[in-house]
């Protein structure tokens, strides 16, 4: 066979071979990186159920301390009074008629329709697909509109230069911050620090959509409420016993 290879055949063959290699190569790349690269989806909605009947005052203090320890806030020395950050706080509610006192932990309620996201001029205030509301501090300009919009007073502004932050939780002067539902732990399959700090069933964390999850099953059975349910924000954090 003495077929002479002309230019057309050469190009045809070369292209076929190159395309083959590219396909294999891209296949390999795709399979290699697909393992850890799955973005979160809206098939889940993370939520929390706080049962105030099961929580003592010291339980709530433990929750606050665990949050401070995990996320590294609370040791600001130059901030005064209201300037101090508080991602989660202890609230005392008193019924004036009967004098009944309820203690409850209050943090970002991770709304489905968050007012803080609506008012943010730079898109820094954002909600992840799985329902966790966060501040993108790369984009935050510190205008604090979100702090005014939040009905739960859940957000804080960092007033001073910080150093020695936690590796997983960057924080800095001039940006707004709030409870992240310990997003760095949730992404690893762990529970938020505050939920873990309470050993009783006082705080249940889980996927609200998953019919087999403890939080979903408990919410089906017992009476629970959203704080300021009249605002129709559909919060991810629910309370029972108040």
């Amino acid at each position: 066979m003495n077929k002479e290879l002309n230019r057309r055949d050469f190009l045809k063959n070369t292209t076929a071979v190159t395309a083959g290699v590219a396909t294999i190569a891209s296949g390999i790349t795709l399979t290699t990186f697909a393992a850890n690269d799955n973005p979160v989806t809206n098939e889940k909605r993370w939520g929390m159920l706080v049962d105030t009947n099961k929580l003592t005052e010291s339980n709530i203090n433990d929750m606050v301390n665990a949050c401070q320890e995990e996320n590294g806030w609370g040791s600001e020395i130059h901030s005064t009074g209201h300037q101090k950050p508080s991602w989660i706080k202890k609230i005392k509610v008193k019924d004036k008629v009967t004098g009944k006192i309820d203690m409850l932990p209050m943090m970002c309620q991770h709304c489905e329709h968050p007012p803080c996201v609506d008012v943010c001029p730079t898109n820094a205030s954002m909600k992840r697909e799985d329902g966790i509301v966060l501040v993108d501090k790369h984009l935050c300009i510190g205008c604090r509109y979100c702090m005014m919009a939040c009905p739960y007073d859940a957000r804080s502004f960092v007033h001073e230069d910080l150093s020695n932050q936690k590796e997983h939780m960057p924080r800095g002067k001039g940006t707004v911050e709030s409870c992240t539902m310990c997003v760095h732990r949730v992404d690893k399959g762990e529970m938020p620090a505050c939920a873990e700090a309470v050993s009783s069933n006082g705080v249940i964390f889980g996927d609200l959509y998953d019919a087999n999850s403890k939080i979903n099953q408990t919410l089906r059975k017992i009476q629970s409420t959203q704080i300021r349910a009249d605002l129709n924000l559909n919060t991810g954090v629910r309370y029972s016993g108040i």
Binding site: N36, D37, N38, V40, D130, D161, Q165, E167, D187
Partner: protein
Amino acid sequence: MKHLLVIFLTLSLNTVLAHDDEHANLGDRATELKDEGKSKDIHPSLDEIRKMHPEFLLHRRDQTLRQGVRTQRDSLKGCVDCHSSTKNDEYVPINAPDQFCSTCHQKVGISLDCFSCHRTTPKEGL
């Protein structure tokens, strides 16, 4: 005259090459990896990482924060872990004047603002 020219050229070539390959302060872990010959596993192309690292980091930050994709590759944490150096058994902040990040950024006049929020040393404690 010819000899002088050869010496001059050799010297200048050496300076260029030396400048190209050496970094004033590579960091403890990175130096170890380089000595073990493993640096190519992390940065296959030096030119690429030198030129493209801002883009890699920018892309990674949005993926991590907004989509929850948390891989070690191209994370700022990863940079700090390897390129930090120790002095008297304590980590020196990576944004200090003679440390890995600042040496180049100062030279090219880039003021970087990663570390007003991000931790400047690897993990907690040593």
